[in-house]
Amino acid sequence: MVTVTGRWIKNIQMFLYFLKIKFIYILKFNTAYDVAPDGLLVSVYHLTRIEYGVDQPEEVCIKVFAPRSNPRIPSVFWVWKSSDFQERESYDMLGISYENHPRLKRILMPESWIGWPLRKDYIAPNFYEIQDAH
């Protein structure tokens, strides 16, 4: 597992491109979560190598930590196109905006929704049942 924080975030694109070209990794999926209700936001990239006849393929998991107040991570759309919808989903659910993504819009929630639903400090509007505080 590789962790990327701070000013190295800008280099993530080049790094992943290098991985793809040299080692033929493919992006299995890309997700995001937040570490704590007021902590950092993490974008996780899970890469696998497609090889034939191997017992267990090599896998790499890369996590990019972004600050909560201004979470901007370069998009890897130009490396692997399969991050198209997935980055949109991370943007929609957690608010991590990906630079240079061709159409970064909300994908699951309606376009006019305010708030980032999957963050731990998200309060669902008009939801008056008892919510257990984390």
């Binding site: 999926f29 979560y33 497609i50 267990q56 919808f85 994908i107 929630m109 999957l118 257990d132």
Partner: protein
């Protein structure tokens, strides 16, 4: 015709969220230039149910019923992945028998899912018949599932450490019978579909994806294997006990829709092979690892005390996810279904991210339809096999044997139906107005037949040119709606009444414009 008359305006069409024939809700905004598709933008989110957020507040056992509703065509896979994740997190061993049972259930689910893919896919292309045939086979699979798990579709069968209940006595023999029957069923599909020239026209060469591109877009499952990449997670990951069986990865090289269809058909045959081998070799033993059920009840004795119990919902002691994270995956019929699970040392996961195969496979749609015709969108979309949730599939599709008995090839069926109507027993509603009810149809039929008597025929059955009042004819045939109303009212049944009202309204709605047209012409002719 000069070409400058045609404008180069592109037309933007909204293939709205509702679709007939079981496609679920997907909105496509398609930019068309005549029949050619220029661009297509899928808009999702109409069926966002917040499954990931809900998962953060449920224990695994509580979450299992939600999970079957992700992909309801193949519910066992979603359950399997939900249970595999925590098992791998907590290093829980699954007994051999449970593993075999799981494999059998998973492969049956795979067959069911591919069957239900064929139906709507062929229906989109235009062949309506396979849609009914697949339900015949799927009913058999439902029966097997119901005997073992208690539910036809949303099974809730898998548990952490095994399955919920053992297979009933005689289930294995029934399953073997199903396998033998299903092999003949596949032959039938092949005869109907695979060499059908219309089908091949529609499907060959449509939506071609190369191997490199497929990997770049992150496709998985039959989409990937149809483009020449032999990647099947059952062989790669060696999960459950797939290694003990002898089976091959099905793949094709072309990468068009026909290749995907062929991959899925041959996957069904392979699944039957696996099931038969599993049924032969299933061992005895326990079906659930009960170790995980022993809990430490001493935790937090103060907060579980009597005075504090009413404060909030507390789940019963259950399996606790260790503080680790994991990506578990399996080969669902649609592709690679995965779960990224971050455990907190509690019953609830901290993050439960679902990697849905259909969602990822859908990304390639805008690129695939770029130069295709409008009708090919449905072919490509059908082959992507994305599952949204519509209302639950009504399994009450009747198994009616077609009307092929009356005369050769059923040509006398209409005559038989009419004769039956004349001679069948009259049923009168006990509380309705029996007089109205019996006279109503008579009035409708008599007036229509009477109207034929007004048509003047001269010698040799040629229509005579006589000055017959056409309004007389219209007037007589217009008595028919009264008959419809009478029988509808007299039946003492609000649905029949509504039906009669509707039929009468329909008849009248024809007659009013008809009369007005004839009126204007006659007035002109009289003068």
């Amino acid at each position: 015709m000069n070409l400058s008359a045609t404008e180069k305006d592109l037309m933007i069409v909204n293939m709205g969220p509702h679709h007939p024939s079981m496609h679920g809700v997907l909105r496509l905004i398609v930019t068309l230039d005549g029949e050619d598709v220029v661009d297509c933008e899928p808009i999702l989110g109409y069926l966002h149910r917040g499954m990931e957020k809900i998962a953060e507040n449920r224990t695994i056992i509580q979450y299992l019923p939600y999970v079957t509703r992700w992909d309801y065509l193949a519910a066992m896979f979603t359950e399997a992945i939900t249970v595999n994740g925590p098992e791998q997190l907590g290093n829980i061993q699954v007994p051999k028998r449970a593993s075999y049972i799981r494999v059998i259930m998973l492969e049956l689910s795979r067959i069911a899912s591919h069957l239900l893919w064929i139906g709507p896919f062929m229906a989109d292309i235009g062949a309506q018949t396979p849609f009914f045939y697949i339900f015949r086979e799927r009913e058999l699979v439902y029966d097997l599932f119901e005997a073992a798990t208690g539910m036809r579709m949303m099974h809730n069968y898998f548990r952490i450490g095994g399955v919920a209940a053992d297979l009933p006595y005689g289930w294995l023999d029934k399953c073997l019978d199903f396998c033998d029957y299903f092999l003949t069923g596949i032959v039938e599909y092949q005869k109907l579909i695979t060499r059908n020239p219309i089908f091949l026209e529609r499907v060959e060469g449509i939506g071609v994806i190369g191997g490199e591109e497929a990997i770049n877009w992150g496709l998985s499952g039959p989409m990937l294997r149809a483009s020449g990449i032999k990647w099947d997670l059952r062989k790669v990951d060696h999960y459950e006990c797939y290694d003990k069986f002898d089976w091959e990865i099905q793949w094709q090289k072309e990468g068009d829709s026909l290749a995907r269809y062929l991959v899925r058909i041959s996957e069904m045959t392979e699944s039957i092979k696996i099931i038969q081998q599993a049924l032969e070799g299933i061992p005895g033993g326990p079906y659930e690892n009960l170790e995980i059920r022993c809990f430490d009840r001493e935790r937090d004795p103060e907060w579980n005390d009597f005075e504090y119990r009413f404060i909030s919902k507390k789940p019963s002691p259950t399996f606790e996810l260790p503080r680790q994270e994991l990506y578990a995956r399996m080969e669902a019929p649609k592709g690679e279904l995965g779960i990224f699970l971050i455990g907190d040392q509690s019953g609830f996961p901290w993050r439960w991210k679902i990697r849905p195969p259909g969602f990822i496979n859908l990304q390639i749609l805008p690129q695939l339809v770029k130069r295709m015709k409008l009708a090919d969108i449905m072919t490509i979309l059908g082959v992507l096999v994305i599952v949204w949730l519509e209302r639950e599939i009504s399994a009450g599709i009747q198994q009616r044997i077609g009307p092929e008995y009356a005369g050769p090839l059923g040509i006398l069926q209409a005559l038989a139906d009419g004769t039956k109507l004349l001679f069948k027993e009259n049923i009168l509603p006990s509380r309705g107005n029996t007089r109205l009810f019996s006279i109503g149809p008579a009035i409708a039929v008599i007036s229509i037949l009477l109207s034929f008597s007004v048509i003047p025929f001269s010698s040799r059955l040629i229509l005579a040119d006589l000055n017959i009042g056409i309004f007389l004819w219209i007037a007589i045939s217009s008595i028919a709606p009264v008959g419809l109303l009478m029988s509808g009212y007299g039946s003492n049944n609000k649905y029949s009444f509504l039906g009669g009202l509707r039929a009468a309204a329909q008849s009248i709605s024809y007659e009013i414009p008809l009369t007005l047209c004839v009126l204007s012409i006659s007035l002109r002719a009289i003068r």
